[in-house]
């Protein structure tokens, strides 16, 4: 096995920022807004770096798709311990319509090119909340998938994954190469220490175009409109169950 792990990292609006919808309802305001690495991607990077520290794998490669700015996110992954980065260049215009399917195609192509043993992604991004990229990537590669991982044990030729599911925890054993997606409790990501930030400067980030990987970026989806969720109205207090039933009938709910 190559001992190489590919980790996808996405640059998203920082979780603490108050999101605002653009006046033309075409999307959310991103200009001048603080961006950071998607929290689930941080967990994915941490897991890969821990595997390397335990000498279970040899190299961690951080990948991000997008315009120039995503290099910041790749650098953060490098500062956390990834060995090198790959920036898949996507113009700002194309980035607006870039979705899980195109990213999965890119990751699948890269995984083959890099002979990756594992792909670790965050379970979802906090902007799109799609929760599709990991699963699609596995399908395109015809690899097994261990999603919503809260515990990962890498052994020779396979991975044991404890998954967080609705009913509790499910433990599966899948062969490598495989795709894993990180859930919240998988680990606590380390802070990039200052010495590691300095070391990250020397690590390489390669530039790749989607066309070089044979991937078409055209999307079959089109965002028609983006709106804020409806404002929460004040509630009404009722005295009895009969009142409650009456009010619900009035509102046409039952």
């Amino acid at each position: 096995m190559s001992g190489r792990v590919l980790v996808g990292v996405k640059r998203v609006i920082d979780y603490a920022v108050k999101i605002r919808v653009k006046p033309d309802h075409s999307g959310v305001v991103t200009e001048g807004v603080k961006h950071s690495m998607n929290p689930f991607c941080e967990i994915a990077v941490e897991e890969a770096v821990k595997m390397k520290e335990k000498k279970l794998i040899k190299e961690v490669v951080a990948v991000s798709c997008g315009p120039q700015q995503v290099q910041e996110t790749i650098r953060t992954a490098l500062a956390m311990g990834a060995d090198r980065g790959i920036h898949v260049e996507v113009s700002a215009k194309e980035y607006e319509s870039l979705g899980p399917l195109q990213v999965s195609k890119i990751l699948a192509a890269l995984a083959k090119k890099e002979e990756a043993q594992l792909i670790i992604l965050g379970k979802q991004a906090i902007d799109g909340d799609c929760n599709q990229t990991g699963q699609m990537t596995a399908a395109l590669l015809d690899w097994p998938q261990g999603t919503f991982a809260s515990e990962v044990t890498l052994e020779a030729g396979h991975v044991k994954v404890v998954r967080e599911i609705d009913g509790g925890l499910e433990t599966i054993k899948i062969n490598t190469p495989a795709v894993l997606t990180a859930d919240l409790r998988l680990n606590t990501p380390r802070y990039a220490t200052l010495p590691n930030i300095m070391k990250a400067k020397k690590k390489k980030i390669a530039n790749v175009k989607p066309a070089d990987l044979g991937v078409e970026l055209a999307s079959k989806l089109q965002v028609l409109r983006v709106d804020e969720p409806p404002q929460r109205e004040a509630g009404v207090k009722v005295e009895s169950v009969d009142d409650l039933v009456g009010k619900l009938k009035e509102a046409g709910r039952i």
């Binding site: 991103t30 200009e31 001048g32 807004v33 603080k34 961006h35 950071s36 315009p67 120039q68 700015q69 910041e72 650098r75 953060t76 500062a79 700002a92 802070y191 990039a192 220490t193 200052l194 010495p195 590691n196 930030i197 300095m198 990250a200 400067k201």
Partner: protein
Amino acid sequence: MLTCWASRHPCVPWAALRSRSTASLPDVPSQQPPAVSFAPLQTFSEEEGMMREAVQKYARDCIAPYVSKMDEESAMDPAVIKSLFDQGLMGIEIDPEYGGTGSTFFSSILVIEELAKVDASVAVLCDIQNTLINTLLSNLGTPQQKEQYLSRLSTDTVGSFCLSEAEAGSDAFALKTRAEKHKDYYVINGSKMWISNAEHAGVFLVMANVDPAAGYRGITCFMVDRDTEGMAIGKKENKLGLRASSTCPLNFDNVKVPEKNILGQVGHGYKYAIGMLNEGRIGIAAQMLGVAQGCFDHTIPYTQQRIQFGQRIFDFQGLQHQISHVATQIEAARLLTYNAARLKEAGRPFIKEACMAKYFTSEVATLTTSKCIEWMGGVGFTKDYPIEKYYRDCKIGTIYEGTTNIQLSTMAKYIDKEYDH
């Protein structure tokens, strides 16, 4: 919104007007820098930007939860000190060869500012270590001394700078601590006061006089390890602010220090002290800047949420004018501080500017914190909100590492020289 001023002025391109607050990294496509560029003062290298973000996150997650408790108990949590070392924040300019980060003075300034936004006491611990102790060792240490101390200072040992005494504050060179020479060692007798970090320090840089007859030209810098016999660390002061930072008197009773523990040359200690304090005061400026900004950052959201007379209190013109005035002062303080740091890094004269930065930012911190309490109203006056701590913490800014009056007198000397033809 594109604004074209009078027809004489060309319309300014959109990118130049976009606000560049330090709180957020703008999402702009990177543009090719012009051939000769004079970047705004608030321009950071990629690594400086990453460090600032990393420290912001770390301070928010690892220090903020302890701040209140450390203030109440007047004690720094050892876990916090350890995490400062683990993050590489205690050896920012130290060479990686000695386990340090190998970064620049400006990075130290950014780190101190970010730490101070969360806790001024943690910031001062980091400031003293980086701008005083590490700098002195790096600049003056013999290879053996660097070998012995630098890797400890960057990984697990806190340092203390011991100059002041009960009778020697601003008049530092009136210090009375004596060092008597014997063969290959010195015997130190005397006491020091107001020594920061003393409770946790593993090494003390002690200024003592080897030849009182020579006045200040006898002052020499000795490196004294913590458990040296005869050295006693007194009870820490019960302070108004910076309570988590230990401030203790030290007593030296026939403390033997080997000759090889002299830092630099005998009788040159006064020079080193002045030199280091010139740089240290930029660090204090960064600390006061962080105190002002941190306090401000906690207060404005409150003014946006608090409704009185049917509107946000932020919307009252009276409040807006006060807030804008304070924001301007903070911006000016920031520019003074960053510029002083960049001047020093560029090897240009910076002492007058460093004094200005320290003097101005400490005054701005006092103004800001005081105003913030007022804007918060009653809750600003309670310990349930973090504002009152900033108010208490800022006061020492006009006092330590050179009082405001000393800064002003120093500046005057430079101004006098400038106009002296």
